[in-house]
Amino acid sequence: MNITATPTAPATLDVERIRADFPILKLTVAGKPLVYLDNAASSQMPQAVIDRLVRYQSSEHANIHRAVHYLSETATAAYEAARVKLQRFINAREAREVIFTSGTTEGINLVAHGWGRQNIKAGDEIILSVLEHHSNIVPWQMLAQEKGATIRVVPMNDAGELMLDAYEALFNERTRLVSVGHVSNALGSINPVKKMIAFAHARGVPVLVDGAQAAPHLVVDVQDLDCDFYAFSGHKLCGPTGIGILYGRAALLEAMQPFKGGGDMIHTVTFEKTTYAAIPNKFEAGTPPIAAAIGLGAAVDYLTSIGMPAIAAHEHELLRYATEQMGALPGVRLIGTAQHKAAVLSFAVQGIHPHDMGTLLNQEGVAVRTGHHCAQPLMTRLGVVATSRASFAFYNTLADVDALVAGIRTVQKVFA
């Protein structure tokens, strides 16, 4: 496979110093130092974010957007400040285009309900790709079933790259939406979303990008991408679970119906009629996970202080080294060899089921994900039931790759 050089070459990361920021990385598992390679499922949290959560709960907590007392004002200010941090992180035009959700899944469901139910009719078509995570398949299937619409699927080649010609051929006068992942969670392929968006927009079709696997690893610029919606999760970004972001173009969000009804999303309520609040509040019914939102703000501060270009460059080096080392292991087949990849290695080992691999690698202190990665249509396309997946973050080291390779060799000996 050919891995392209990174366009910029920022200063190398001081990874040992970064690792010292993550208390959990000091753990031992089965008597061995933890080698955490399941970052695509969830990343770990630096002390700065943990401290921010503690400070909020210790001295700033009250409900937001309601009372006039000190704590409520403090909490509201911190929550809204986090929104602005996220706006800058993805270069949205305005903070009100940034909706706090519970995660990527809720963000996609919000669009399926708030935009889809208004705009998708019987006979309409929604374009997804074969690489999608279930969370970017099932909400659209549910909508399609309700409305009598059809799902069309962009195929990929054997390397795990979406086929743009086939994508373009899927468009017709019934195409209403494209919803596509920025980076494949199972294979790491970086999809050509900018080109896909430009093609869709030329035909008046809006595009949602599932950025769950991209936001932690790439510089995300929603204006440069020109996407209409962009959804991602906080817990893959060194933040807490239960928080995520849906970016939406202001004009689209304003025209959409709310997803959930309740407090904080209304303008006036009578039993005859309710008028809704302006965005973003229209989409944030009920008391949100305030601490988690503030924690996510602290997480993007932390990532920004390191620099996303430096993070991307370090992870690229990890991918290059891991691909080389793993590729040289007898009996190991890498699954997903796209030219443009994030630091995700899915692999199969001859004669060893991924679950056995995962259990025995754990015994070496190495945490990998095994299974179908919530991407069963992709597994079907690949002709496998499951894979093992090592997914890297900026706090991983070349020594972590060595530990993975040594672990696989050990497991191969058990099964020899």
Binding site: I352, H353, P354, L360, Q363, T370, G371, M379, V385, A386
Partner: protein, 162 residues
Amino acid sequence: MSADPKALYQEVILDHNRKPRNYGELDHPSHHAEGVNPLCGDHIHIALELQGETIERIAFKGESCAICKASASMMTAAVKGKSADDAKTLIHEFVDMATGRITAQDGPHIGRLAVFSGISELPMRVKCAILPWHTLQAAFNAEPSTSTEAEADPMHTPLGDA
């Protein structure tokens, strides 16, 4: 009992994984069922032929991890030639052992299946070991398919007439 997975992956399990007994399909089985673990995508098919009360033939097929395959292989070897009632007793003993409700010593029929006793210390893998047993129970219950995540767990439904 040991929490060390390496102790679980001992030679007898690895041997059954490499050379599974009773692997394949049966023509005209009297009972069969398909079991899936939707969490990992593993699936297994079990077919058997009852003559009177006796399991005359039994076979399994499927794609699964070593724990599941060895469990299925040893299960088929253990119940072949036994009565359906004895097989059902063993299903309960095995599932109770794998889920940690009883120790291997508390199961009078467990015998060599005690090699799976360590699985109760690996909660994420318990379902791998018990999938074949659930599937055998589903076959007895005349349920064509079962799942480790089924709403109606065959182990919690009354035993059907064999």
